[in-house]
Subunit: 258 residues, 2 copies
């Protein structure tokens, strides 16, 4: 029972650190700018987006920036932003955002493979594509393992707390690898299309370079919010109590049975 008391204490004591909302607002501003700028780049210099034409390729970068950069980043921030909500609600939101990200990334993946097939281009020869497939597989596995440990009610308690730090580390790493892969893809798109004009400081090249720096910056800001020790969601005791609570509700398990 002591853990339940801790949980209530934890809930009452949880206040939002003063600077956190500004950093979160900045991350959202950056994230939306990224999406808008990717759209602007594709619209201004690449003819826009359509599924049934050569413009199908352009769905790829847009989906990836929305899914595997912006939404994935936001999914990581959920535990910092909703620090006073019930853990269970936050957990479901975290899982849902990752599902949206995964589905949008899947559309982006289909777009590029379909485009390559129609054009007769080779698949999976570049470093960008190798990193991309790696990210996608890791992201999917992380989602499945995360779901079975944290949302599916059967996982034993000790296993959850042993897996949690690994889940957080791999989550952050997959996010950073996604950002890196986006940078490689952007670079590839520029070198394929601009060629020698890139070195003449063409507006498209400068816009895309700025987009690249903003991508790296978004990755950095999300990582900062995520790793700052005094911004972490208060006590692990609270989480343990609530997971226990969840188990009790769903399985009729006794909190003392761990």
């Amino acid at each position: 029972m002591s853990s339940v008391c801790l949980s209530m204490e934890g809930g009452a004591a949880a206040s939002t650190p003063a600077a956190l909302p500004y950093y979160v607002a900045f991350s959202q501003l950056l994230g939306l700018t990224l999406v808008a700028m990717t759209g602007a780049w594709l619209g201004l210099y690449r003819g826009g987006i359509a599924w049934e034409s050569d413009l199908q390729f352009n769905a790829h970068p847009l989906c990836m920036v929305i899914g595997l950069v912006f939404l994935q980043g936001d999914a990581l921030l959920v535990y910092r932003v909703f620090r006073n909500e019930a853990k269970r609600t936050t957990k479901v939101l975290h899982g849902l955002l990752h599902i949206f990200a995964l589905v949008i990334a899947l559309v982006g993946l289909v777009a590029v493979f379909d485009y390559h097939r129609k054009k007769g281009y080779a698949d999976l020869y570049s470093l960008h594509s190798w990193c991309g497939i790696l990210v996608f597989v890791l992201y999917f596995v992380q989602w499945l393992v995360g779901f079975s440990f944290f949302l599916f009610p059967g996982a034993p308690f000790s296993l959850r707390s042993r897996y949690r730090p690994q889940h957080i580390f791999f989550g952050a790493t997959i996010f950073l690898l996604s950002v890196g892969t986006a940078l490689l893809g952007l670079k590839e798109a520029l070198l394929f299309n601009l060629g020698d004009k890139y070195s003449a400081f063409e507006p498209e090249g400068v816009l895309a370079n700025v987009l690249g720096l903003l991508l790296a910056c978004f990755g950095g800001v999300v990582l900062y919010i995520l790793t700052r020790a005094d911004w972490k969601r208060p006590s692990q005791a609270e989480e343990q109590a609530l997971s226990m609570d969840f188990k009790t509700l769903t399985e009729g398990d006794s909190p003392g049975s761990q």
Copy 2:
């Protein structure tokens, strides 16, 4: 005086976690493989390295992989590897490794600018070059600020402990940005030189893709060792006591004066 007692206790209690040496050994194996593979790539497919010819360019990737990836990564690991040495020794080693890395990176920077100048190529137009300059400037500033806070004996104690988490975060971020920049540079070198042959799975392309994955992997392993909570160097109290000690020795300052 109590902090000095803590220091001695901390020193005695500090034991090496069982799995840490294996991870460190793996990181070193990866790091050396990276350097060897970069050398092999440049030797087999790019004609080797020389300062006074077109091969001057090749000094750039090799210096950057040695300096800003391998040595910078190792400098971050110093506090995990030498956990039972005096903090002061570890600190000096950390600073020295970063200096070596900075000097080698400077040689790599001179190589590429000098090569561009001789060839009449434009400078600083690509995303790789923008990220590279950003990394270099941030790295230099981080070194200077780190030196003035932690090695130069004048910095007040409270400032040191407030700056420490920022120093660690920015250190890790600059390292990851270095790895990302190396990936962009590798991709650029492949697309410039291989062109259409890249999509035909030329051996050079495959070798360089594997090198890229290993670069990302090295970044991931260093980050894992660095962030794993139970692998952190024992108590902050120990560090405080030793910094105090250092101040006392160098300035004749009283430990009670903070």
